[in-house]
Amino acid sequence: MIEVENVSFTYPSGVEALKEINVKINDADFIAIIGENGAGKTTFIKHLNGILKPTQGDIYINGLNTKKASIAELSRDVGLVFQNPDHQLFCETVEDEIAFGLKNFGFNKDAISERVTWALNLLDLTKYGKVSPFMLSGGERKRVALATILAWDPKILVLDEPTIGQDFHQKDKLRQFIVQLNSQGRTVIMVTHDVEFVADCNPKVIVMSNNRIIATGSAREVLTNFDILAKASVLPPQITQLFIKLSDLGLPQNVIDLYEAKQLIIDLTKGRLNNEGL
C-alpha cells in the first residue's frame, strides 16, 4: 500500500512542484495520472521510489517511510520507468541493461538469463539483445527501459508515459500485459497524456493540475467530467466527444468505450426501425 500524507515538494530552484498531496493507493490498484504539462506528475511519481523526498509530509510504501529508506531498498518493490529512457539507460548492450537490475537484486545466473530472454521477447527486442541501446529508435529505447524494470517483477510498477514512441500494435500489447500484471496483483501506476489509452485500459484516474490533485475517480467518471478535464488541459476521448455531439438523439453522455458505443448506436438504429415497424 502507498500512503501519501500531506506531501509538498519544492525543487532547489524554488519551484513548488507539489502542493499538499494526499492519496492512498491500495495493493493491486491500477491508476492513471493525467494532467497538463508541468502539473507535477513526474515529480510525484519520483517520490514513490525515493529519488525525491518530500519537503513536507510523508510517504509510506508498505509502511516504510521513504525518508528512512534508500532508493535501492525501495526499488525492489517499486519499479519506476522514466519518462525519458535516456535518463535510465547506460549499459553497452540491451541484454546488459536488462541484466543490470537483476544482478543488483541478487538473482542467480540462470534466473538472470531466463528473465532477460523473457523480457526481450515480451517487448519485441530479441533481435537487439547484443546491440547498444543508443543505436535503437526512440520507441525501441522506451521498450528497453520498460524491459529493464519488468524483468525483476516489482510489486508496484510506476510508468512515466509508457506509450511514447509506440505504434498501435505495441501499445495494445503493452496494455494487455499491464492489465494481466495488474490482475495478478501488481499495483500499476502510469502517467500518460494519451486519453485513448486511458479509455482502453479503464483504470482509476487521478487528475493533477497546478501541482495539486484536483480529482480522482473511475476512467468513465473522470473522462466525461469536462470541467475537470479542461482545468487539466485534457480533451475527452473521441468516442465521448461523439456522444456529446449526439446527445439530442437520446444517447448517454458518459461513454468512453468503443464497443459500448457501437452497441448503443446499433440499439439506436434498431429502436428506430422497431418504432417504424409498429
Binding site: 530552484s13 525501441e140 487539466a232 439506436l268
Partner: protein, 282 residues
C-alpha cells in the same frame, strides 16, 4: 513545385547489416502537410535525418541514391547550409536544448542565421507566446518538465521560419490541449505562408484533419502514400497495425454489423453527421 526529391535512397547504419532505408522514392511538394507514420523502428527518424543532412554528415554508414531538399543536394552541402531552409524538431527534445535559459536557446538559432538583434527579440517573444511558455523564458531548460522541454524545442525551430519543417513525434510529451494548439499553429503557417510540414506521429486521430497526405513506412520502405481518408480505411493499413482513429474504427465496426454510414470519417464531426443522416433516413 517540389521541395524534396528522394531518388532510390538506401541507407544502413554502420555495423548493422540490415538497411534502415530501402529504395525510397519520394517527391514532396511545396505546401504539403504530410503525416509520416509506421511501426516503431521502421525508419521514420532515419528518413528525417537524411532530409536535414545529419545522415550522411554526422552518421557514417552506407548511403546510396539522391536526396535534394530545397534545391540543395544533401550530400554536397554542409548541415549549416541546409539548416537555413530546413527546421528539425528532434524526437527527444533534450538532444536539442543546451543553453542556460529558454530564451537563449530560442535566440541561438537566429543568432546563427545572423538575424538583427531587435528582430531576434521579436521572434523569440512571438515563439514563446505561441507555445504558451512566456512564463518560463528565464528558466534553465534542464529544470523543466518533459512537455515544457518539448515546447521549447518546437519554439526554437518555429522562430527560425524554415521553408520545410520536420517534426519527429513532436507531441509525445505534450498534454492534449498543447498538442492540439501545436497542430493549429503549424496548420495556420502551412495555409497562410505555404510552410511545408513533415510530421512524424503515431496518434493519427489528433491530426488527420490537418494533413493533405499520409505516408506509411514499414521495414525501411514506403508502404502507402495518399490522402488521409483513403489511407486510414484501407485494408493494407489496418494489417500494418497503424493506429487508426477510434471513430474510424467505430465506423468499420458498425459496417461489419451491417450499419453503413457512407464515406469513412476522419473527424468526430463527420461521423456525427453521418449517424444523424442515417437516423433521419431510416
Amino acid at each position: 513545385m517540389s521541395i524534396v526529391e528522394i531518388r532510390n535512397l538506401s541507407y544502413s547504419y554502420p555495423g548493422l547489416n540490415k538497411p534502415a532505408l530501402i529504395n525510397i522514392d519520394l517527391t514532396i511538394e511545396k505546401g504539403d502537410f504530410i503525416i509520416l507514420t509506421g511501426p516503431s523502428g521502421c525508419g521514420k527518424t532515419t528518413l528525417c535525418r537524411c532530409l536535414n543532412g545529419l545522415i550522411p554528415h554526422f552518421y557514417n554508414g552506407d548511403l546510396t541514391g539522391d536526396v535534394i531538399v530545397t534545391g540543395l543536394s544533401v550530400k554536397d552541402n554542409p548541415t549549416s547550409k541546409i539548416a537555413q531552409h530546413v527546421g528539425f524538431v528532434f524526437q527527444n527534445p533534450e538532444n536539442q536544448l543546451f543553453a542556460l535559459s529558454v530564451e537563449k536557446d530560442i535566440a541561438f538559432g537566429l543568432e546563427n542565421l545572423a538575424v538583427p538583434r531587435t528582430e531576434i527579440r521579436k521572434q523569440v517573444d512571438h515563439a514563446l507566446d505561441l507555445l504558451g511558455i512566456t512564463n518560463l523564458r528565464d528558466n534553465a531548460p534542464y529544470e523543466l518538465s518533459g512537455g515544457q522541454k518539448q515546447r521549447v524545442a518546437i519554439a526554437c525551430i518555429l522562430a527560425m521560419h524554415p521553408e520545410l519543417m520536420i517534426l519527429d513525434e513532436p507531441t509525445s510529451f505534450l498534454d492534449p490541449v498543447a498538442a492540439k494548439n501545436l497542430f493549429e499553429i503549424i496548420y495556420a503557417l502551412n495555409k497562410e505562408l505555404g510552410l511545408t510540414i513533415i510530421l512524424v506521429e503515431h496518434r493519427l486521430d489528433l491530426l488527420c484533419t490537418y494533413a493533405n497526405r499520409v505516408i506509411i513506412m514499414d521495414e525501411g520502405k514506403v508502404k502507402a502514400d495518399g490522402i488521409p481518408r483513403d489511407i486510414l480505411s484501407s485494408k493494407e493499413v489496418l494489417s500494418l497495425g497503424i493506429g487508426i482513429p477510434k471513430i474510424t474504427k467505430l465506423y468499420l465496426e458498425l459496417k461489419a454489423s451491417g450499419i453503413h454510414l457512407g464515406d469513412p470519417p476522419i473527424s468526430v464531426n463527420e461521423i456525427a453527421q453521418e449517424i444523424r443522416t442515417l437516423m433521419l433516413n431510416d
